[in-house]
């Protein structure tokens, strides 16, 4: 901290050394990315609420566009909430790698000795924490607005909890593929939405089936299976896509 001239020589970078690889732990990259992105999300609090506001506004449009009839809305509620949660996630995904791409941090991530898989996973984990999780927590409120029957709340929260994590993971592939493009946002939705259909099917159906008085464990189990597949595969694909985008 001293700015006295004589300290200059002493504080020069230590002499070059082959860094021992052991001090770069396998997960230190993951933890570093996770902490940094969480800090960044906290600093840009304004952006945190955008997906949630979007979620709320679109759900408000449903009765305006269709009918305020509670019976009809109750029928639509599971699917509607799920579709809108999916759209809100998609919209927020465009920014996942964009700022890193624009300021050059992405290049630095690519040449980090930590596995890129874990670095991407760290970023996706933060994305889910600041979008998927809040959406999941907000969903019951929207359920009230759409007259969701009581038995639907449990599976709604549970299915969104697992499902939004898969959405973030799969979406990260699209975000990585389109990060180098100037107008990537719409393209991202276009290429990723078809891949979301299985999650939407099982997510919405778990709620509907609970409302009809049937069990919903099987749907939740399938969502869990999707999540584990996405957890294993998606960061790999996203890592590969990032390499392409950085050179685009």
């Amino acid at each position: 901290m001293s700015s006295k001239p004589q300290s200059v020589g002493e504080t020069r970078a230590e002499s070059p050394q082959a860094q021992s690889l052991s001090n770069v732990g396998l997960f230190s990259g993951f933890v570093a990315v996770f902490k940094r992105d969480l800090t960044l999300a906290y600093r840009n609090q304004g952006e945190l609420f955008n997906p949630l506001t979007f979620f709320l506004i679109v759900i408000t449009m449903v009765p305006l566009g269709i009918t305020p009839d509670p019976e009809v809305l109750a029928e639509l509620a599971p699917g509607m909430i799920w579709v809108v949660a999916l759209l809100a996630t998609l919209l927020s995904l465009d920014g996942l790698f964009r700022s890193d791409f624009e300021d050059g941090s992405l290049e630095q991530l690519l040449i980090s000795p930590s596995p890129l898989y874990l670095l991407v996973l760290g970023k996706v984990a933060v994305h889910w924490l600041v979008t998927g999780l809040p959406l999941t927590l907000l969903a019951p409120l929207l359920g009230v607005m759409l007259f969701l029957p009581d038995s639907g709340y449990g599976p709604l929260v549970l299915s969104l909890f697992l499902g939004t994590a898969s959405l973030s993971l799969i979406g990260s592939i699209g975000a990585a593929l389109t990060v180098g493009l100037r107008k990537g946002g719409l393209l991202l939705s276009l290429i990723i939405m078809p891949l979301y259909s299985p999650i939407l099917i099982f997510g919405a159906s778990s709620v509907a089936s609970a409302i009809d008085g049937f069990g919903y464990t099987s749907q939740i189990a399938v969502l869990g299976a999707f999540l584990s597949i996405a957890l294993i595969c998606a960061p790999f694909a996203a890592a590969g896509a990032l390499r392409v985008s950085v050179n685009g």
Partner: protein, 246 residues
């Protein structure tokens, strides 16, 4: 030994020159198969006891659907080969396969709709297979859109190869999910895609048409790839020489 062959095959020029000799044969074969298959299917196969003659659209509908799905895998696999071995031709095959597959998917959707009108009185039904086909169509559109969005060809190729590969992992999951979704919502009145036994008199022309579509697919794919090669290598010496020679 096999490897030199492989890398030779990956060179655009070699591919172009080799396939020049094959093209007329492939053309002839696909036309003959198509004529025989459709004549057999449309003219000689017996009409269906319930649907009358309208069922005959399956001779287009089914092979198109087969190839639409197989085409996605062909596209993805050539993309993967391009990524692993950096062979130029396989990317060109991938680029050529995308629009062909999209057209075939569209054909199978369209013929399905045309078939649906006289059979169930409606153009569109949210049936499991039709819905899966529609999603497959979207996957094709996504790959094509991504390909066009990049400025650099190399990045475009790699990006769409990654997307195509992600799609291949997802397609079985999508199919199973949509299937499951359909059984959940299946209306009692409409039932039509059960695997009823098909009479041999209809099955053989159908099989022939499937083969004919495969050959046609190969022909069109090769033709498009050759066009892509020429467009891509238009500045190279061998293309210029060829152009001036003819």
């Amino acid at each position: 030994m096999a490897w030199t062959w492989f890398h030779q095959f990956g060179s655009p020029r070699w591919f172009y020159e080799k396939t020049t000799a094959w093209m007329p044969w492939l053309f002839a074969l696909s036309i003959i198969l198509l004529i025989v298959g459709s004549a057999w299917g449309l003219g000689f196969a017996p009409s269906d006891s319930k649907q009358g003659n309208s069922y005959r659209i399956i001779f287009i509908h089914v092979p198109a659907a087969f190839l639409a799905l197989a085409g996605y895998y062909i596209m993805a696999i050539s993309g993967a080969i391009g990524m692993i071995w950096k062979t130029k031709v396989s990317y060109l095959v991938m680029r050529s396969a995308a629009p062909i597959g999209a057209v075939l998917t569209f054909v199978s959707l369209f013929t399905g709709a045309v078939w649906g009108k006289p059979t169930w009185g409606t153009w569109w039904v949210w049936d499991a297979r039709i819905t899966s086909m529609l999603i497959l169509f979207f996957l094709y559109l996504g790959v094509m859109a991504l390909q066009n969005a990049f400025n650099h060809e190399e990045s475009a190729n790699k990006a769409s190869a990654i997307l195509a590969l992600v799609g291949t992992v997802n397609i079985p999951i999508i199919y199973k999910s949509v299937d499951w979704w359909y059984t959940l919502h299946q209306p009692a009145t409409i039932k039509f895609t059960e695997d009823s036994t098909i009479d041999p008199s209809m099955k053989y022309p159908l099989l022939l048409m499937v083969v004919a579509f495969y050959v046609l697919y190969a022909t069109v794919l090769m033709m498009r790839t050759r066009t892509e090669i020429i467009a891509r290598e238009r500045k190279s010496k061998w293309v210029k020489e060829m152009a001036t020679a003819s």
